[in-house]
């Protein structure tokens, strides 16, 4: 993980091996790995996934229900569904934003460069060996290693499956406005998937794919932060990553 979009040189001290005024060792530079837009969409997406997963499980099977009474209650199920829909649209927003940035953003050319690495079998083998403690981390052209690039590409395919199935379910509840606009195209997808029951199940299974990818993602992020010793975990918060000067 070497090439970064924005390169910020830190003030140099005359003496080697002493800390800078900011507390950085002098032979280390700080570099912008993730732009603010990148970080915001990442964390908004993370929160959305959490809320969507919880409310989604509730919608699939309402495991908590108010006690049976004749009194009016707080419309718990409708409430869960509204939060699901609100964060569903938040999710659609950030996924579209991220896809746009990745495809055309100037600061994202190193993400695009990751694709080049996936075409090199040698990089694949070296990366797998690294994770199996059998070799050194390969030199990468882009920001993601091939396994990572493939996992993220797969994740986005899953997001789009969730978005399309989610919208099919949406247009059958909300028939006006956006629902009316999307009604006919979504019915095309409904028929393609073989009816609403299948749409619901594809939505449910795709959620499981996301849950599993998220768990692996968090572990790999921690693993790389601990052993990569370049502050890759910091980068998703501050945007900055440490890099040894050559």
């Amino acid at each position: 993980m070497v090439a970064f979009a924005i390169h910020k040189e830190l003030p140099m001290k005359t003496e080697q091996h002493t800390d800078t005024a900011e507390g950085y060792p002098a032979e280390i530079t700080e570099e912008m790995e993730f732009t603010p837009a990148y970080r915001w969409q990442h964390w908004i997406r993370a929160v959305a996934i959490l809320i969507l997963t919880f409310t989604g499980f509730y919608i699939a099977y309402p495991f908590v229900a108010p006690a049976v009474s004749s009194e009016p209650n707080n419309f718990l199920y409708a409430l869960m569904r509204s939060w699901h829909i609100i964060f569903g649209f938040v999710m659609i927003g950030v996924v579209i934003l991220k896809v746009y940035l990745t495809l055309v953003g100037r600061a994202y050319k190193h993400e695009r460069a990751s694709l080049g690495d996936t075409l090199k079998p040698k990089v694949w083998i070296a990366q797998i060996k690294y994770y199996l403690f059998m070799g050194k981390h390969p030199h990468l052209k882009g920001v993601y290693n091939p396994l990572q690039t493939m996992a993220y590409a797969g994740l986005y395919v899953t997001f789009f499956a969730l978005i399309v199935t989610g919208l099919v379910l949406y247009v059958h509840v909300y028939h006006e406005g956006l629902g009316a606009l999307l009604y006919e195209p979504m019915r095309f997808f409904e028929v393609l998937m073989g009816g609403m029951a299948n749409v619901r199940q594809i939505h449910h299974i795709a959620m499981w794919v996301v849950i599993i990818v998220v768990v692996i993602h968090i572990y790999m992020a921690i693993f790389n932060a601990v052993f990569g010793k370049n502050g890759s975990m910091d980068a998703i918060f501050s945007g900055m990553k440490w890099h040894k000067k050559h």
Binding site: F75, A78, H137, F188, A197, Q201, W208, V215, F223, V226
Partner: protein, 387 residues
């Protein structure tokens, strides 16, 4: 603007009804449709009430009611051929066997069924001749109604009918060829139905798979009598096919889901659910979602038209929808009385392992991932990777 549209529509209907009046009624009827209805104990007032309801059902204004009444009277001018394919005769039976036949079923019973295996008196060679004769005589004029899925491919011979040993598929193809309009009555002919469920041993397919012509699907197991007769009266008045949804079902009947029209919908939004049959929530008429109602995935108008002369319908009786008017509902809807979340998938080794729900499989994979992560982390702690 709207008035003009209705006026021209009214005029078009009038012309069509007048045109049909000129045609001779089908043979073999000793009474008129009105007499038949009257003899069954319905007054003129009952009949007009029914006519108004059907007019409203087809989204026409009340001024169309008298025209609708006339249309019903000339319904016997339309030759109808009804084919039985791979089916249980439930669609026919549901219309014919009611103890107190409704006006819908009386009309259905009366209208000229040139060929209907269940109710015709002819048998054997004579029956086959009747079919050939009807196709020839009413070429391009008759309405074809088909009940049942159609065994196809290598299994085509699983449905072989009559002395000529014709396959059901061949008969369906032949009759579709010369039909003025084609209605697939019931889920089997609309989508394949129960015999098309996995593993589909007879290779049953929908009627729309065996003809290039537009097939109007009227699914349901059985479809309500109102939807069958309504589709027919719609064709009778308009002379064209109705507006169809994504599955070629008439929009006037199948535009909304069971869920959208459900009388228990308020309880669904409120989060008030029946937990198990017979509990207090069930007595209070709460939502049946958790005991497996498939209303949210099913398009039909059962909640409005109901069954048994409008007495009731499944959800009203406290039993969830099974999704019978949806394609492949036997396979896609999961177990009756269990929510879709609990649908079972064949899992490991081609189904040799236990069937499992998506959640069970998901938790299983998640556990495996957890074990993998822990093992990897443990190795990393002992033998850190080379940087």
């Amino acid at each position: 603007m709207e008035k003009t549209t209705y006026d021209s529509l009214h005029q078009a209907f009038r012309q069509r009804v007048e045109g049909l009046k000129k045609l001779p009624p089908m043979e073999g009827r000793d009474k008129s449709i009105e007499e038949t209805i009257e003899e069954a104990g319905f007054s003129r007032r009952d009949f007009m009430k029914w006519v108004s309801a059907v007019t409203a059902m087809l989204a026409l204004p009340a001024t169309f009611s008298p025209l609708m009444a006339e249309a019903v009277k000339v319904a016997d001018r339309l030759p109808i051929i009804w084919l039985h394919m791979a089916e249980c005769t439930g669609c026919t039976e549901s219309l014919l066997r009611s103890a107190n036949p409704s006006i819908d079923s009386l009309i259905f019973d009366y209208i000229s069924l040139e060929y209907q295996e269940t109710i015709m008196s002819a048998a054997g060679w004579q029956a086959e001749e009747n079919l050939e004769h009807a196709i020839e005589r009413y070429k391009g004029r008759y309405i074809l109604m088909v009940e049942g899925g159609i065994p196809s491919g290598e299994m085509e011979s699983f449905l072989t009918i009559g002395g000529h040993g014709k396959s059901g598929r061949a008969i369906a193809e032949e009759t579709s060829e010369n039909a003025a309009a084609i209605f697939a009555i019931g889920t089997c002919s609309a989508f394949g139905g129960v015999q098309a469920a996995a593993p589909n041993p007879t290779g049953a397919v929908a009627l729309s798979e065996v003809t290039d012509k537009t097939v109007i699907n009227v699914p349901g197991c059985p479809p309500s009598e109102k939807n069958i007769v309504g589709t027919l009266l719609h064709y009778l008045l308009y002379g064209t096919l109705p507006a169809l949804d994504a599955y070629n079902r008439p929009k006037w009947a199948y535009r909304l889901r069971i869920h959208d029209l459900c009388e228990r919908r308020g309880h669904f939004d409120a989060g008030e659910f029946v937990e198990k049959f017979g509990d207090n929530a069930a007595k209070d008429g709460f939502c049946l979602y958790k005991v497996g109602c498939k209303g949210p995935y099913t398009f039909n108008n059962c909640a409005k038209q109901k069954f048994n002369q409008g007495t009731s319908w499944p959800v009203q009786t406290g039993f969830g929808c099974i999704g019978c008017s949806e394609p492949n509902f036997w396979d896609t809807m999961g177990t009756v009385n269990e929510p879709l979340r609990d649908r079972l998938y064949n899992t490991v080794f081609g189904g040799l392992g236990a069937d499992a729900t998506a959640d069970k499989i998901g938790v299983g994979i998640l556990a495996a991932v957890g074990v993998g992560v822990a093992a990897h982390a443990a190795v990393a702690a002992i033998k850190p990777p080379k940087v």
